[in-house]
Symmetry: C2
Subunit: 279 residues, 2 copies
Amino acid sequence: MLTSTVIRLRARGSGLLPRAMGEFGHAAFLAIVRQVAPDLSQALHDAGARLPYSVSPLYGGRLTGRGVQVQPDRTYWMRFTILDPGLYAVFSRYFADSSAPDVAITLGGVPFAVEELTSSAKLDPWAGYTTFAKLASSAACEPVVALQFWSLTAFSLGHGPGAAARYGILPDPVLVFDSLLRRWNRFADAPLADPNEWRQWLAEHVVVSAHRIRSESWQFRQHPQVGFVGDCTYQVVGGSAAQVRQLNALADFAFYAGVGMKTAMGMGQCRRVGRSASV
Amino acid sequence: MLTSTVIRLRARGSGLLPRAMGEFGHAAFLAIVRQVAPDLSQALHDAGARLPYSVSPLYGGRLTGRGVQVQPDRTYWMRFTILDPGLYAVFSRYFADSSAPDVAITLGGVPFAVEELTSSAKLDPWAGYTTFAKLASSAACEPVVALQFWSLTAFSLGHGPGAAARYGILPDPVLVFDSLLRRWNRFADAPLADPNEWRQWLAEHVVVSAHRIRSESWQFRQHPQVGFVGDCTYQVVGGSAAQVRQLNALADFAFYAGVGMKTAMGMGQCRRVGRSASV
């Protein structure tokens, strides 16, 4: 089960939260899991960089140059996506066991009451649920695929020879759809494609056909992080129907998986959009 | 001698010229050369895709959805850059031999009088002249290099297996600085670097650190062409001083060479800008 859960939050205090809210969202998420399932919490902690969930920034606040201004009694929202059924069971039990007025989380020192929580796409366009099998079987054979990179997105390119960390901040087809394939293969029962063959196919057959993007920098607590936001349309040039469908499945999967690095820290929030939105 | 010549033009008629003005600028440029040096004209015609000059679109007109609206007695401008000293001699002789009021060119059926023609950077920021030797010797050792892609820019990626033409429309460091090196090596007395080593170095040591870009499409007479415009900042991660200086020389060279494909048709107009302009 892949789920995207939107949480509507009412602020019970005020504060200026940094734009890289995912850091606090991540902490809040881990606090919830720790409370109801300490063992799972430890397992998550040990899982390293490839986490089976993503956490969005806090949306709905007024964005200033210094961060997100939160005011009492205003409503905000964030979302968690979960790629692991066991983890989703823990997460939903926490909210099911609590009577609504008592559920609260703290983000960067500011308390919030949870007003609503939904995984239904009918109730919120950023919510939803599906399965890997359904994503694969219902994937379209559409040669034009548009993605909206909604929060800061970047790819770790490792370290250059004797040099500092390098990041990819362009929506390169190979980087984007390789990131998605690796996440799919890690969490699904069966791999969707062979990673090396997939990278080769992307390089030869998938081009960017339209975009409108800009870089941004988020100040995390310890360091700044550069990335990009915006819209990008990909087009398959040649390629078999099976591969085009794999590309479509991964584009749909982006809604749950996020794209690139630090998807548990607010980065890489992404969703598929219609053709016209990205040109 | 590398020259960038800005030509101020006063319209003697009206018309709606297509946005891909370079097609007309190219025709006007060839008409000038044909008039004063028929042999050179034939040589240019035979030179194929790698032409020793670039031609900008027409600037200064009101841009509508259908093209550039030209009105009588309004002033417009375009620029030619020339990478070959013999060609520049021909070009400048044409204007020197003519008394100013008589010099005229026709762009897409609309007649224009040439009011001013300059290669002095003091008179116009898009004008200038230099040499390959000066570019190489005066290149800075600046690890941060920002480029402004001023007109539609794209890279030909060749044809996929059994597929249509593919274009690169992201300012990928390898594509941008490989395009510049190939043009340098073609027109300079001595190559600046080995192409294969240079591509390898770019892939390992140069990343995009900031950008604000969007794709656009130009309607050429025969076909539409996709590309991008905007600002992009490159950062060297590691790398020797000699290579950083080569990168700086190529960034300066972009002003004369243009970047990517169809630089004789208005595409790929590019110049180096200060750091702050591109973030």
